[in-house]
Symmetry: C2
Subunit: 178 residues, 2 copies
């Protein structure tokens, strides 16, 4: 299995810090050259499944403009420049729920798209969470917090209540460790 | 929980059929206007977890230029214009593995990103799969097929062998039904 060879890359569209589109020239294993291979670079994010000390999962309800609807979600957000993914996850957990944890598990990191890449996501599980302050998620963010039993979250996933694949995947990955 | 109001939208970058970037003006629940909200529109895709009649899962190994490495994957691909997601899933399953199924389960559909949207993905489980012809995945695609036990696929997910979140999520969703 031969990796493609990236012969060149230039950014042909930018609206930083939100988005950057690269046009690449790539050589395929059979020698064929593609001169119009596009990749989209979005900001990296961290997302976390917080398990409370009583075993319930701390979830969010919020309007998200990606799916365009109010949906079930989890604490998540963009990683700041220079910030380690785990620190971004801890910050978002604290901001969006007021919770902290001393027991973190990495569930992996993935790009979104097989071809166009998209963003790089870092998935976490935080066990033994406890609330230490009020949630304060900042501007543009209206949300409520809800502790749910794992079985209820399974049903919510199956019935389409998650609006964004990152959070649906985060729960589906986390439940393999509970 | 109030949805945002989309006041206007124009496409400011296009390389069809691959990618389209929209700039929106949106009104937030607190009345604030954002004039530079960007969304990325990529092609919709279907992805499928094929379970063979013997209970093994039919997986792929392929180089993907999104993550830039050889990784574990599943049959998946873009949905053709006018094609129903389930038909795209059936076509990709047949092309990439030579398999068919009469027992399909929808595992939901999701956009990638809470804000920037990305693509719309349709996730499927196909049970009782049987091989009826040689795989023929077409251009740019070099891949091998491997039947794996569910436990082995769990371990592969945990150890980071999936390169793309869509396929990792597809398996994590499917295992809730097995």
């Amino acid at each position: 299995m031969t990796p493609w060879k990236q012969l060149s890359q230039r950014y042909i569209f930018e609206r930083l810090p939100f988005i950057r589109v690269a046009q690449q020239t790539v050589e395929l294993p059979d020698g064929k050259i593609l001169e119009d291979f596009y990749q989209v670079h979005l900001r990296s994010f961290a997302t976390v499944v917080p398990v409370m000390e009583d075993g319930t999962i701390l979830t969010l309800r919020h309007y998200k403009h990606g799916p365009g609807r109010v949906c079930l979600g989890l604490p998540a957000g963009f990683i700041d420049p220079g910030e380690a993914p785990i620190d971004g996850a801890k910050r978002e957990l604290l901001e969006e729920t007021g919770a902290v944890s001393d027991d973190w598990v990495s569930l992996g990191h993935y790009v979104d798209n097989g071809n166009q890449r998209g963003c790089n996501g870092h998935y976490f599980l935080a066990r033994g969470c406890r609330i230490i302050q009020e949630a304060d998620s900042g501007d543009h963010e209206e949300m409520t917090q809800h502790c749910m039993l794992p079985e209820a979250l399974d049903e919510a996933l199956k019935s389409g209540e998650f609006g964004v694949v990152h959070q649906a995947a985060n729960w589906a990955f986390a439940r393999m460790y509970l």
